[in-house]
Amino acid sequence: MNATIRWVRGGGLSTLLLLLPLLLVFSYFAWFPIGRAVVMSLQETNLVTDPVWVGLDNFRHVLDDPLFWTSVRNTLYFTGLALLFGYPVPLVLAVVMSELRRGKGLYSALAYLPVVVPPVVAVLLWRFFYDASQTGVFNTILGWVGLGPFAWIQDASSAMPSLVLQATWANAGATVLIYLAALTGVRGDLYDAAEVDGAGLWHKIWHVTLPQLRGVLLITLILQVIATFQVFTEPYLMTNGGPQNATVTVLLQIYNYAFRFGDYGAATALSVLLALFLAVMSAVYFRLTRSWSTT
């Protein structure tokens, strides 16, 4: 009893009161749902009757779905392409921009502009750009130099690259600014030292700039992979998985299980599988790269 009074007098109660918004919001909308995900993946849930324990049935169902491997393949394809387009380009842009003596603000603003465009607006706009007819926006432009017309998102083989192109346009600016911030922290005396040793421009970039960015580069790589594994808006609004399931991603599968077919157990099972995969991959990644990471 005395201890309680002392705790209240010492400000313990008001501290707890101030922490209450965080505790409530995180309990309800972060910690509890995370725990519930694990439970739900082992249950049959349909919102009408009480949930029933079904063991690993949901996982079996999800893995047996003929679309499962299609969605995994498509997601990996999206991630691979997104890295191919989206990883080197921002780095080159940031390195060039870091050497600007004036106008850096203008460059940064231009680079970041697509990031503030709401994704739905961007996707719907690009969907129109990708019009497959002769008079589609991109086909008109490419027609000036004698190319096309291309089918873009209406053809199974070019649909995914088209989606990635749009996603890269929408997101690259954010990565450019992260690299740019990291570049201002590269220690100038390392360049001095490299010059004393006779290093040229490319040697300085290769032996000083990139090693100094190592930590940021490693982190953005894994974060980008994790983010692209959860791609949803682009395939959902641009192609809705088509043509011929060429753009069905794992997250689209999850969405369809839950909100089209009402199979919440299967949806959570697939979510848990995806999360486990991402967790294992991140752990392996950090283990492998620990020796050359600076942070």
Binding site: G11, S14, L16, L18, L19, L22, F26, Y28, W31, P33, I34, M40, L47, L93, V95, G105, S108, L110, A111, L113, P114, V116, V117, P118, V120, V121, L124, W126, V137, T140, W169, G173, L177, A181, A182, G185, V186, L190, D192, D197, G198, A199, G200, L201, H203, I205, H207, T209, P211, Q212, G215, L223, A258, A267, S271, V272, L274, A275, L278, S282
Partner: protein, 326 residues
Amino acid sequence: MSDAVKDEPRVTAPAPPPPVVPAVPPRRQRRTDATSERGILSDFDWGRAGTRWGVRIAQAAVLALLAVASLGPILWLARAAVSTTQDTLRTPMAFWPSGADWANLSTAWNEAQISHYFANTVWVALGSWFVQLLVATTGGYVLAVLRPRYAPVVTAAVLATLFIPGVVVLVPLFLTVLDLPLVNTSLLNSYWAVWLPAGANAFNVLLVKRFMDGLPRDVYEAARVDGAGPFRLLWSVVLPMSKPILGVVSIFAFLNAWKDFLWPQIVLPEPTLQPLSVRLPLIRDTVELDVFLAALLISMALPIVIFLVFQRLFLRGAGLGGAVKG
């Protein structure tokens, strides 16, 4: 020195002795100003005409690329929003062959009811902003300034959610919102269903906490000696000192709420409540193309205006994101 740097721009030059690079720089030393005075190129490099022009050409090329890629689609939309459907379909890259059609904007705003959904979006974004700011400031304050004994546990639990991919909680979160445990209410078709989960943003909390960790602690002691309690300390001392970080958090909170699509679509099935991002894909097939493009332009206008006004805050915040992630 001059001798050593002579063969500077030649890539094929024989490899110089490995440059002396300390393998492990001190952690988190990115913002020390003294080290960032020079870039990759030295003043000597800048003095060489070949290097100078090479760099200038590269920078001009980047500027051209950025202008075309970033501004191009947006300017195209701005033009198409005031063109006729016929023109946009037949000659998408021509400039108003049959005159501008300014009526599109008012048709979209009034008849397609974009004004209504615009107001919904503002409301969604303001609420999300408020909840995020409330949770992040009070939480960050307790964890960084008051530091009760259980603070490390809470910090770790908040940090842990940062590593859980958002997709895992999508469905359980939806079921939680349908039937809140303990209080047994459903938030479906209520803006609270968007606002409250937005507050569970570990990134905000950690950003604010880290900033407050860096504030001088002797100020708190002085305020306590003057008789300020924990609430007074937060309101009159810590918050005014935290303005820079609160600006960054606010701007990203508002913008992310404006951009959000999947979650509002799930929890706001009632059309009259939906924000623009949920509504736009649905009206695509019901209105004429020129009106639809005008609606797209209106939907991206406010975020872009906010970005242009608060540019500095944005660009600093984007770099900060990297600092926390890294």
